[in-house]
Amino acid sequence: MHTFDTPLDVEAIREDFPILHQEIYPGVPLVYLDNAATSQKPTSVIEAMDDYYRRYNANVHRGVYKMSEDATEAYENGRKKIATLINAASTREVIFTRGTTESLNLVANTWGRVNLKPGDVVISTEMEHHSNIVPWQILAQQIGFEVLYIPITEDGMLDMEAFRGLLDDRVRLVTVAHVSNVMGTINPVKEIIEAAHNMGALVAIDGAQSVPHMLVDVQALDCDFFAFSSHKMLGPTGVGILYGKRTHLEAMPPFLGGGDMIKRVELTGSQWNDLPWKFEAGTPAIAEAIGLGYAVDYLNQIGIEKIHQHEQALTAYALERLSEVPGVRVLGPADPALKGGVAAMVLEDAHAHDVAAILDRAGVAVRAGHHCAMPLHQHYHIAATARASFYLYNTFDEIDHMIEALYTVKETFAR
């Protein structure tokens, strides 16, 4: 008998997420296991945005009337909460973007465009999300530097020896996921940052899958850039974050041009605004930044350490139960302590897409495909995986449900 050991009162938490209490098909309750794609939102986040639109919706920064001042304060408060969450040295180092993807593209298009030259090297990894590969490929084609990739080992870890082999004085930037969105691997980013800094290279971290699930301290890590998305951490769609060390951000050219990012515009040229607004052109995602602030409050109230423990318990249980299903293989580290709450499955008889479709009929929402990590799948010679991913509101029961549905898949394709 398994003892379900978790520090969270999951039933109480589930009460805060209205979406979880529904039947997806008549008589079939929802089991949401696609948290790596996007998380659900607690009532407090939904209501905070609702309240904004019903009570003080106004454009920010440039208004002297009450509603605009309230909106500005609430928007900048969202920034403060993020700065505190990741322990940025200053709110000026926290830039709002649309998401991780825009954050990483911002680094490529500003820092990259002025600092990378032909002959330089940017190191990424074979397990990256496309958003940390494609921007560098596009820029490399324009500028002529080289992109090299840290290979992965059979059990889904970064090959650190190979990394040290790649790291020479041509390397200007190492850009790596904190946690893999397919295998859950928690990468040794602190070690990577130290090694890269010793060679004079900067380090950008894709934290899309870490910030929602574990404590991140950008100053302790000493990373140069750090990117993540609101929608994966209980916040709304439409907003994300780029953290950057102030000295880098000051030296970088702006990204997009327009309102709010300038101090002065003349027909002959312009002067940029102070940080962080220099990188926030145009009307920002106001309601979204406010909602994100409430998501941070919620995470803090529950406790990110406890969330992490809960997810590790779920993952350990899921890996154990999955190991009992014949013909199922899970990518990545076998030890749940080395990974986040993600299980990407390959079934012997059935394509990932069919797995997900049959699971869906049982109410179980998992994602099928390459999860925007084609190179990783190419590495393992797999076209697609069916990925289950967990969050604070998931239960051990839900994992049992998924396992049951997997047996239905096997039956269907065994006929």
Binding site: A352, H353, D354, A357, A368, G369, H370, A383, R415
Partner: protein, 131 residues
């Protein structure tokens, strides 16, 4: 069992018809479904009247995409190029006989997309917007 996986679809998936490329080919086109990495490669031999003499295909992917390719491509033999160009989405769905959401629709229609692109020499054929 779920009607998504009707007997016939599973049959075509497990024992696909006309699998294996033919050469030389008058139509030769391949494409991915970016959603899930499904892949289909189609080759078609036409006779001197532009009527399909032989087809062969290769691919990997989910049951829906592969069964749809197996059924559709087998049905091409004896059709004229004009008839091929006229095949539409509804015919495929009728052939499959299942209800599909917008994402699975892309799986089901990948074989048609490859066929049309091959037959027209385009990556998108007129009318695709109506999806």
């Amino acid at each position: 069992m779920d009607d998504l996986y009707r007997e016939m679809i599973l049959d075509h998936y497990k024992n696909p018809h006309k699998k294996g490329l033919v050469s030389p080919a008058n139509i030769d086109y391949e494409e991915d479904n970016p959603v899930c990495g499904d892949h289909i490669h189609l080759t078609v031999q036409l006779d001197e009247n532009n009527v399909v003499k032989e087809v062969g295909w290769d691919g990997e992917g989910c049951a829906i995409s592969q069964a749809s390719a197996s059924m559709l491509y087998e049905s091409l033999i004896g059709k004229s190029l004009e008839e091929i160009r006229a095949i539409n989405k509804d015919e495929i769905l009728e052939m499959l006989g299942i209800e599909l959401g917008p994402v699975r629709l892309k799986c089901a229609l990948l074989s048609l997309k490859v066929l049309k692109a091959g037959a027209y020499g385009l990556t998108a054929w007129p009318g695709e917007d109506e999806d």
